[in-house]
């Protein structure tokens, strides 16, 4: 097991290395990085100072080394717009993103899991087909459009909910729905297929042969095991939600990381954009690693395989 975990950690480190290399190369190779890293409208003296600071006259691998060094020390540069370190900005927005992601996750599980179970138990019948339509709609409607239509109905016509901002539960409802919508469909699909697989297994047949009532078979024996892959996916999706909420946060002016990214683009604040991409990728690599380790701890089959 230690061997397995060490190998997984090594792979993740390799991924993080490639991630930083990718970002670094894209910035350096596709043009003069000073145009990105120096504020728009900066003087020649400022540009020269930046060249000096990043050592753009040195060989590229030296530049990369200093790039990685500053990241490791948590230095993602200064925001042009806010005049504060980017990491500080990022961390100040993270709780909001997490809150939104958690609410969206709760919503997507509340819709996705029960409807997935229903579809699996009634496979091929009305609820299954209705679920299929629902999941296709979920995967096809762009989240920002769902958000805009929600605003139109609940803020403009009905005047029930605030259209933007944050601060109360009411502010959270619409963005959480808009963000969770797509994931509800994904969770439904996985719950359905996972449930179908479990329902076809031998121990479920045995439980039925024992004469257990069907409701008990489903609720106690099948549901619990079918839930494992769904919860795994939910864990990864929570991190993904934090990182893909940019459009939803823009629509609802929700002050999270996505909104920060949007401000980064509109104010041409490149250090912010770079940090959001880097940290987003790193977050996903690390969560994948944690889930793999957790699986190895829980499931002995994975350990032995390695």
């Amino acid at each position: 097991m230690t061997r397995y975990i060490t190998r997984r950690i090594a792979y993740s480190l390799l991924s993080l290395f490639l991630l930083s290399l990718t970002i670094f190369l894209f910035v350096r190779v596709t043009g003069d990085p000073t145009t990105l890293l120096v504020e728009p409208g900066a003087s020649q003296a400022d540009i020269d100072a930046m060249r000096e600071r990043f050592g753009l006259d040195r060989p590229i691998w030296v530049q990369y080394a200093s790039f990685v060094q500053s990241i490791v020390y948590g230095d993602f540069g200064q925001s042009f717009y806010y005049r504060t370190p980017v990491l500080e900005l990022y961390l100040s927005r993270l709780p909001n993103s997490l809150l939104l992601a958690l609410a969206a996750m709760a919503f997507s599980l509340l819709i996705g899991v029960p409807s997935g179970i229903l579809a699996a138990v009634r496979v091929g019948r009305f609820w299954d087909r209705a679920g299929k339509v629902f999941s296709l709609l979920g995967l096809s409607l762009p989240s920002f459009w769902v958000g805009l239509v929600l605003i139109l109905f609940f803020s403009v016509y009905l005047e029930w909910l605030p259209s933007s901002g944050s601060g109360s539960v009411w502010h959270l409802l619409m963005p959480a729905f808009a963000l969770g919508w797509y994931f509800a469909a994904a969770h439904m699909r996985l719950t359905r297929s996972s449930m179908l697989e479990v329902l076809g297994s031998d121990y479920i047949k045995l439980a039925r042969l024992k004469g257990l009532p069907e409701s008990l078979v489903i609720a106690k024996h099948a549901f619990k095991n079918a839930l494992i892959p769904v919860l795994t996916l939910a864990g990864i999706n929570l991190v993904i939600m934090i990182n893909v909420a940019v459009v939803v946060e823009t629509v609802f002016a929700w002050p999270g990381i996505g909104r920060l990214l949007y401000e980064g683009i509109t104010f041409r604040d490149f250090p912010v954009v770079q940090a959001v991409v880097l940290l987003g990728g790193a977050m996903i690599v690390i969560v994948n690693l944690l889930i793999d380790i957790l699986y190895a701890v829980i499931d002995p089959r994975i350990r032995l395989e390695a």
Partner: protein, 294 residues
Amino acid sequence: MAMRSEAVPLSSRADLVRGLEGFPLLPMAILVGIGVVAMFAGVLAPHDPEVGSLALRFRPPAWQAGGSIDHLLGTDHLGRDVLSRLIFGARVSMVVGFTAVMVAGAIGTALGIVSGYLGGWVDQVIMRVTDTWLALPALTFAIFLTAIVGPSEMNIVIILGAVYWTRYARVIRGEVLSLKQREFVRLAIVAGCSKVTIMRRHILPNVLNSAIVLGTLMLGVVIVTEASLSFLGVGVPPPKPAWGLMLADGKKGLMVGYWWLTVLPGSCIMLMVLSANLLGDWLRVKLDPQLRQL
């Protein structure tokens, strides 16, 4: 000869019927319809999509009070005709969507074949890069790239290709690994075919089905991403009529209830993506049993 004229038409018709079982007729019709509209946008659009008259700002659709038959679906904040912009927007979505899917498909399929067939360190390098790029959230990655190269229609296509090729590479590599064990490939090796020839003549044709299915499924994703980028102001640059851009403009009139500026372009995106997904779903089951699990 007599036998041919008797038997073949019958059985081929039966084949055709069986082959088209459950064919998503409506989605296909919608996609073809959007394609035709995109192609003949210049003839169909009643007005210039990029020029409006400020005197005619925020006109509602014709059936609402204050609307006129001249602007069937109303006008936007610059007095531009919404219908004409929707029609020309179809062209942007179609062109960007299809070319981006093809760029991503070409890169991903090529790298997937090379990775799977050659194996060894080539495989390791390509797959590690694929894994890393897959870990980057697609939209964020695309935004980062546009921040570097700047937004333009051409750049968006290249960026979407660069972001989404990894999806192909993974799946295609898996298929190549199993194809490699098949008899015809082994025979080709024994017959002395070069690696390049085998990859091109024997492997490529056999993974094309999967690539097409993936491409159809990708089309919806790519269109939504393009719309999101345009919505955020880093996609297709204004005043070009892209649906995502129209939604961003429509937000300005949303709070005062100018619904047509939001609902109409969004419905167009939804129709196109939904159709592409339905078609992709059907193709997946028909063409490629291996991808059913996807």
